[in-house]
């Protein structure tokens, strides 16, 4: 602990969101600094790199208006910590934890480092508890469980927003319990944000949101999800609540990461994204989970918009390697008027096996899901043949499979804005299978 806070005027260079400071005595990695601009504004920043007496600082909130002569920097001798406590509930903050709802800042009960610490793998409890989202394609075929991280892979123009919005209103635990929602908007337009705002208002005090809009500082886009996840961990593992974290849109996050990485002159990897993007994304996604000792949980539902509808693009690709599955939306289904346009074939929930069946959903769940998958996959394969020879030129059996694939899309996948309980979902599945067998006779 330093006794006196020293102010430095020795800024030597400013590059993008980065600031170089000379002749600094004893800085710490990750230390929080206060920056006073020539026109009297206060900004905060974080120490990224120290080389002898030169320090590299990442500035939160943009470097517009900073200069090398009159900008002063003071060191706080502490890493950035997040204020925590129950006062956080029902509030809206920006990407640097300033209230956006015209209310005063709450009084923190205590503070935790913004990066958190990894959960010890032996302390983790394997996620098994079923969460009902109200969507048949998720509940029935790609089941979400408590403590899972399951992204929605969308394409531009598809209704991922509507789906996310419905999930945040509809998600229920099997015991009927509710979630506390942590909502993180990253690089959203005002138009999109207005849309979510209505739903958030319905949540009353069961939510916290962190809003970084498209015209807000890029550096805060990297900070906002970390603030949100630290809050989520506190709600889950100290106050033992079940927390659902919705982050939209991770593509904007990754682009911000690329922007900052380029400013730091790091080596670019695939498509210009930094080589450490996997580890960086993992440091966010891996904060989801449950532990043996505590009752709470963090369930993570990020949205990723696939650039050029390409699932092999680095952003969805790296995300898919870290998360426990993915829900993939399809432009083709959307054009057929199907909502939600979930393409179940490339979709997957890795934790489904333990979250379904007796005690969680229903005994027949696994068989029904396998049956639907297999039959629908066959039907989809035959569509290519249909395109060549036409439906009339096909065998009766094959026509039957094609019909099934169509019915599956219109009756099972498509559900409009209606919420389906897991029983509704499984009954619909059973009906489709029965009808399919009926025609066979």
């Amino acid at each position: 602990m330093r006794l006196a806070e020293h102010q430095y005027n020795s800024v030597s260079a400013i590059r993008g969101p980065l600031l170089f400071l000379d002749r600094v005595f004893a800085a710490r990695l990750g230390e929080l600094v206060r920056i006073e601009t020539p026109d009297g504004r206060n900004l905060s920043g974080e120490v990224l790199k120290i080389s002898g007496e030169q320090v590299l600082i990442q500035v939160f909130g943009g470097t517009q208006g900073l200069d090398t002569c009159n900008t002063t920097v003071s060191f706080t001798d502490a890493v950035m910590r997040v204020p925590l406590g129950t006062g956080v509930l029902g509030r809206v903050f920006d990407g640097s934890f300033k209230p956006l709802d015209d209310l005063p800042m709450f009084i923190p009960e205590f503070r935790m480092p913004v990066l958190g610490a990894p959960i010890n793998p032996v302390a983790r409890a394997h996620p098994v508890e079923f969460i009902e989202t109200g969507f048949s394609t998720i509940d029935g075929l790609n089941t979400l469980v408590k403590g899972q991280k399951l992204p929605i892979f969308s394409c531009s123009g598809l209704p991922a927003r509507e789906m996310t919005d419905q999930i945040l209103r509809q998600a229920r635990l099997t015991d009927g319990g509710d979630f506390v929602l942590v909502f993180v908007a990253l690089g959203l337009t005002h138009f999109e944000y207005q849309f979510y705002l209505q739903s958030l208002e319905h949540m009353q005090s069961r939510f916290v949101s962190f809003i970084n809009l498209a015209d807000d500082p890029v550096v805060e886009r990297l900070l906002a999800p970390r603030l949100a996840l630290t809050v989520a961990e506190d709600l889950a593992f100290r106050q033992e609540m079940d927390v659902l974290v919705i982050i939209t849109d991770m593509t904007n996050y990754c682009d911000a990461l690329r922007e900052i990485s380029t400013a730091r002159e790091e080596l670019p990897g695939r498509r210009g994204y930094p080589g450490h993007m996997y580890s960086d994304l993992a440091s966010l996604y891996e904060r989801a989970g449950r532990t043996h000792n505590r009752n709470g949980s963090v369930t993570l539902l990020p949205t990723v918009t696939m650039p050029e509808d390409d699932i092999t693009h680095p952003i969805p690709d790296l995300t898919g390697y870290i998360t426990e599955g993915q829900i993939v939306l399809s432009r083709e289904l959307h054009q057929k008027g199907i909502y939600p346009p979930v393409d179940v074939l490339p979709s997957l929930s890795r934790l489904m096996q333990h979250g379904i069946g007796k005690g969680q959903t229903r005994n027949d769940h696994r068989d029904l899901a396998n049956h639907l998958y297999r039959t629908y996959a066959k039907g989809c394969d035959l569509r290519r043949l249909e395109a060549v020879v036409g439906r009339d030129g096909m065998q009766a059996d094959d026509r039957r499979l094609l019909d099934f694939a169509d019915r599956f899309e219109t009756d099972f996948v498509h559900q409009g804005k209606l919420r389906r309980t897991i029983d509704d979902t499984l009954d619909t599945a059973q009906r489709l299978i029965d009808e399919f067998r009926e025609v066979a006779r």
């Binding site: 302390a123 983790r124 394997h126 080589g275 690709d317």
Partner: protein
């Protein structure tokens, strides 16, 4: 010896401390974070820090042990769960709670536990390096205690012993403990390497029958996300016919590790009827744990694997995934500002990888026994593009390729092993072995391959003309191929079907191929396919 921190850039730290060697372990800062020297320039050493170093300040003290990073080897490793630096995770949880904090260094072995030590040696026995001086019982295995140096025994204390109590003394009064340490990055010596000859039964029909693995062999399992790499690795870890399994979760998901631990604690090893965990060592360095420790995790794990191999045991090493290790190498290399090679990976990726993979093999140990270390390594190519550097570098040294196919996975065909592109260079050796036991093995294997290949070419035709446009013989072949795919190659890892003995594998394929030959013979005599299928009690396909 003390020095201080002069430069910090992420986890790469420069320290001013003379007389260091490359690979030396240093303690960095007030919280004594573990680091390893990776570069020397005059007095200044560049240190890779293995723990989260936020809050580390310029001028903080640095000290060294004057030796490399070590793995501690002794009885009690089996059943353990460690991080990439061999810190015991259960002990860490007791000490610091559910979240891992920096600067902790608990001893990986349990020194309070007593072992019943017995020995065939006598006072005056001359021991060579690596010779056994006694044994303890660890779970189902006879754990040989190996001497880390040579010398003549002067005293011997058999009976109940704890690890820190000397089991014996040399004539120069140096004690022999139940444990010793070994540098993380140094392969343990052997008398010589032997060619692998015995099949390693994985319990996966597709692998054992079409692409067999040998004890002492190396296979790689590349696959895009969602193709079932982890499930395949874990299923093999459960059922493979080896004595010891070392499983490394290298930069993968925490929840998967939790699931693995749950299962391994509950499941029984079918061969010894004891909990599976008793033959398993788990190294878990999940994706959000420090990157440098991820890089060292495979070396920590393989050293433990070699230690058990040196007792003359068959050890299987599974890593999930090697790509995450290579990425850690890339991140460290970038932080050192080295010249990048392909895709940003350092140019020494290939040599580092082959150095590691060559630690597998069948060996004659220093103790004169024969032991084996086999490796099955998952690879996660970006965008499921197998032309990328890590897959390619692995292919140059691996003996078998189990390629996981995204298309098969989407159809829920698991294990999604692509049977046209996968291969095993061990096939001939394994075949000789299997044919000794079941003479039909070779014939059935080539017939099965043949049917699957024919299906591939017929499928294109069928897509144009439809199934009924095919001749009866071809329709039959398509039907058999489908049955082989669905009933034989598919294997559900979550049911009893997860493990198949070579005997049952053979019976199943015999049934399918025989039925095919029988109906095929009928067709040659001029019968119609649909009639033959009816006779056989099958619906027309």
């Amino acid at each position: 010896m003390n020095g201080k921190v002069t430069r910090i850039s992420g986890a790469t730290v420069c320290v001013d401390l003379p007389d260091l060697k490359i690979g030396d372990r240093v303690f960095v800062g007030i919280s004594r974070l573990t680091g390893e020297v990776v570069r020397l320039e005059g007095r200044i050493a560049t240190v890779q820090v293995f723990e989260d170093n936020r809050g580390l300040g310029i001028g903080e003290p640095v000290s060294t042990t004057q030796g490399p990073l070590l793995v501690r080897l002794g009885p009690g490793l089996l059943g353990g769960v460690f991080d990439g630096l061999q810190r015991p995770l259960h002990k860490l949880q007791e000490d610091s709670g559910d979240f891992i904090s920096s600067g902790q260094d608990p001893f990986p072995l349990d020194c309070s536990r007593s072992w019943d030590f017995s020995s065939e040696c006598k006072v005056g026995t001359v021991l060579g390096t690596g010779a056994a001086f006694g044994r303890v019982r660890e779970g189902h295995i006879d754990h040989l205690l190996l001497s880390p140096r040579d010398g003549t025994l002067a005293r011997l204390n058999t009976g109940e012993l704890q690890l820190e109590q000397p089991a014996a003394h040399f004539e120069d009064d140096q004690p022999l403990l139940g444990w010793h340490s070994w540098p993380v990055r140094k392969a343990r010596p052997v008398r010589r390497k032997l060619p692998p000859v015995t099949p390693l039964v994985t319990g996966q029909r597709c692998l054992d029958f079409l692409f067999p693995m040998l004890k002492g062999g190396v296979s790689i399992v590349p696959g895009g996300f969602g193709t079932g790499k982890t499930v395949l690795e874990q299923t093999i870890a459960k059922f493979a016919d080896v004595d010891v399994v070392v499983y490394v979760g290298c930069g993968e998901r925490g929840n998967e590790m939790a699931g693995l631990l749950d299962e391994f604690n509950q499941l029984q090893d079918p061969r010894s009827d004891r909990p599976l965990m008793e033959r398993t060592i788990i190294v878990a360095n999940t994706s959000n744990m420090p990157v440098a420790a991820r890089e060292s995790s495979i070396f920590t794990a393989v050293t433990m694997a070699e230690y058990y191999r040196d007792m003359g045991l068959d050890v299987l090493f599974l890593a999930d995934s090697l790509s995450r290790w290579a990425e850690a190498l890339r991140e460290i290399s970038a932080a050192l500002e080295e010249m990048p090679g392909e895709d940003g990976f350092p140019t020494y990726l290939g040599s580092r990888l082959s150095g590691f993979i060559e630690r597998a093999g069948v060996v004659e140990t220093l103790n004169g026994a024969s032991g084996s270390l086999s490796m099955i390594l998952a690879v996660s190519p970006p965008g499921a593009d197998f032309a990328e550097p890590v897959t390619q570098a692995c292919l140059r040294v691996a003996g078998a390729l189990y390629l996981l196919d995204t298309q098969l996975a989407h159809r829920r065909h698991f294990p999604a092993i692509n049977w046209t592109q996968s291969y095993s260079l061990y096939s001939d050796t394994a075949l000789a072995h299997f044919t000794e036991q079941h003479e039909e093995w070779a014939r059935l294997q080539s017939r099965c391959r043949n049917i699957l290949q024919r299906e591939e070419s017929l499928r294109e035709v069928a897509e144009v003309v439809g199934m009924e446009g095919l001749q009866d013989a071809d329709r039959l072949l398509m039907r058999t191929a489908e049955k082989i795919r669905l009933e034989f190659l598919c294997q559900n890892s979550f049911t009893k079907d997860a493990f198949a003995t070579p005997q049952s594998t053979l019976e199943q394929i015999t049934k399918l191929v025989d039925e095919h030959e029988r109906i095929s013979a009928g067709l040659k005599e001029g019968a119609m396919l649909d009639d033959l299928l009816m006779e056989d009690g099958n619906a027309p396909g």
